[in-house]
């Protein structure tokens, strides 16, 4: 059906190995999300607690993105990007997760305590 040269086998095997490898390289923090960081373009991020109910209006490159925080979860409810990918992806709640509205250059990072800080003092 499809002609296989030696290089094709090599690429196929290598790529099939690359899939689990790429997944294993990424940490999957299971820790409880404690805060979100909203980053607009190159500005330094603003931190919000995830334990609140609020709507946040963020002025991005193209216009206003609206972010909703509720029940320890966060989502985009409105964003002036063409694909609406960030809105369609719905609620997010796991630490280490990110929601990105690329055209508007607004991104949300969900952070656990140990992601936000290198150490906790008490």
């Amino acid at each position: 059906m499809i002609e296989m040269k030696p290089g094709d086998w090599l690429v196929l095997i290598f790529s099939l190995l690359l899939i689990p490898l790429s997944w294993s390289l990424i940490d999957h923090p299971s820790a409880e999300t404690s805060a979100i960081e909203i980053t607009v373009a190159d500005a330094s991020p603003t931190t919000y607690s995830i334990k609140q109910q609020t709507q946040i209006n963020v002025a991005g490159e193209l216009g206003h993105s609206v972010i909703e925080i509720r029940d320890g979860k966060v989502r985009f409810t409105n964003s002036p990007c063409s694909g609406k990918v960030c809105i369609l992806s719905g609620w997010h709640q796991h630490s280490g997760d990110h929601i990105v509205c690329l055209p508007n250059r607004v991104s949300i990072s969900l952070l656990a305590e140990q992601d936000r800080f290198d150490g906790i003092n008490f």
Binding site: K5, D8, L10, I19, S22, I26, T39, G83, L88, H98
Partner: protein
């Protein structure tokens, strides 16, 4: 004179393949993807087909025409989406060039398609990281994108090869 007509004929083919690619590109962006942010890149089937039939230079034409005209059609020209598209196209063209012109003896459609798919998503990821979201958190997308790039690379290669088989029988 005849020579001129032949070149025009090929140009016409390139243009129609590019038109086909643009149509697929626009259609594909109209459908919501099951995994947000990830698209099969079906228009790359056309690029692969052209690469297979007419070589790298023509594949480059089709691919770049598709990116530019496609973005003009959808009103995303010079926007982040356009630069992401362009970077993906350039990276996959680079990998096609290396595999198809330099290592052609050892590599066929499948190898080119997978490599192009992975190069495509990795370039987009890097451009997104460097230009738009300068936040290393975006790298968590790496495994999803690599997996998608590889799977759609395989898928596209199979589709391209079966189209090529039919084409070679009919033409």
């Amino acid at each position: 004179m005849e020579k001129n007509i032949e070149i025009t004929e090929e140009d016409r083919k390139i243009a129609s393949f590019a038109a086909l690619a643009i149509a697929i590109h626009v259609l594909e962006s109209g459908f919501p993807s099951p995994v947000p942010g990830i698209k099969p890149g079906l228009a790359n089937i056309i690029t692969l087909l052209v690469l297979f039939r007419y070589g790298w230079r023509f594949a480059a034409w089709v691919s770049l025409l598709r990116v530019t005209a496609g973005s003009l059609l959808m009103g995303t020209f010079m926007s982040p989406t356009f630069f992401l598209s362009l970077s993906g196209a350039l990276a996959s063209l680079l990998s096609m060039w290396v595999l198809w012109t330099v290592m052609r003896r050892w590599v066929g459609l499948l190898g080119v398609s997978i490599t192009a798919g992975v190069s495509h998503v990795m370039a987009q990821l890097l451009v997104a990281w460097w230009l738009f979201i300068p936040h290393s958190g975006i790298l968590v997308l790496t495994p999803v994108l690599i997996t998608a790039g590889i799977l759609f690379g395989i898928f596209n290669a199979i589709i391209t090869s079966s189209i090529e088989n039919r084409l070679s029988r009919t033409l």
